[in-house]
Symmetry: C2
Amino acid sequence: MTDDVSPTKRAIMEATYDALHEQGYGDLTIQAIADEFEKSKSLLYYHYEDKEALLADFLEYALEEFMAEIDLQDHEPLEQLEMLIDATVPETIDEERYRVQIALLELRGQVPHTDVYRERYTEIDRMLTDRVASIIERGVESGAIRDVDVELEAELLVSTILGVQTRRLTTYAEFPIERSRAALFEHVQQRLVAAES
Amino acid sequence: MTDDVSPTKRAIMEATYDALHEQGYGDLTIQAIADEFEKSKSLLYYHYEDKEALLADFLEYALEEFMAEIDLQDHEPLEQLEMLIDATVPETIDEERYRVQIALLELRGQVPHTDVYRERYTEIDRMLTDRVASIIERGVESGAIRDVDVELEAELLVSTILGVQTRRLTTYAEFPIERSRAALFEHVQQRLVAAES
DNA sequence: AAATATTTACTGAACGTTTAGTCAGCCATG
DNA sequence: CATGGCTGACTAAACGTTCAGTAAATATTT
């Protein structure tokens, strides 16, 4: 959907972001989306069969935005891991990233009751974990990373990142994000970096 | 509320659990709660001013159940940490624990739009982190744990636990819970346990 | 290239249903 | 016979969804 989609559908997705941001998932009505949308409410039904279809598409849209953010360049494995942390748990979080993370948090809560959502989150979780695992694997091969259990380390890192992200979004602003970031970076250093020989 | 509450209010809380479990937060209506409740819908309004008040009370109720689950006995610090992991991320998750965790996951998604929720989750987050920190501190004092940055280690462990919990609940059953548990236990060993001298 | 038909994007008003919330009154117990 | 716990019938507003219709763009015929 990233590029090839009609401007109208894109506008609907943006309106859904805004509505979700203002109302939360519990009060997310078609009317609320329409209110954030320049065109009419009925147009939503021209483009989508029903509310469920619209929201399913929105989740895909939001996940694409998330994946785009962590599209890492060619770098050393250790640098890539640090870039990943920096992208998922940035020191200061701008409006754009904030609304993506909030949206994904809200929709995740709906997973236990919507099978399509569960599939999407499973998919993204696996993609992310595999991505991390392959970075670590490259590091092991090049000698930059110790000969660790690759899958285990990937699981651990992904979980910790998600945990920090979630706690940051759902507690007050005083949440010690610098401490958590430091802990994440140090975690990578201590568990993964090969001892100098 | 754990003990001193009327049976009716308790029944309302249980009905809310069931409704939340069947409908999800998005479709959680007063009627849905009443349907899971032996008595009438109007009675809900006899006991609570409105839906919001009922849900606020429910969150408190659910958080108490959660806290009760991790009420650790007197044990060695390292044992306590392992008990904490075992309570929050059990190998197999029974119905009771599952519905508590699901409920807390769903309500957490609502935090960005409901200040009362944010306060509660901030509170529980802080309590949990402080509890972990004090366990680690005791370990350091007794020499069972290395002389680490206590707050940092507590942050890291709490985040990782939440991350594992969340991923487990929002991906398919194939989620490698054993690997995640192993990683958590190993994490405690490797980062916290004092080297034998 | 003018005239006509068809399709596409879109709207406003309306539909039946469901929602949160009210209220007059009932029925047991003290 | 008063009071606390409780109910069923009710309402106004909000809900998701439909639909008849419009105006502009595009395709087809003449």
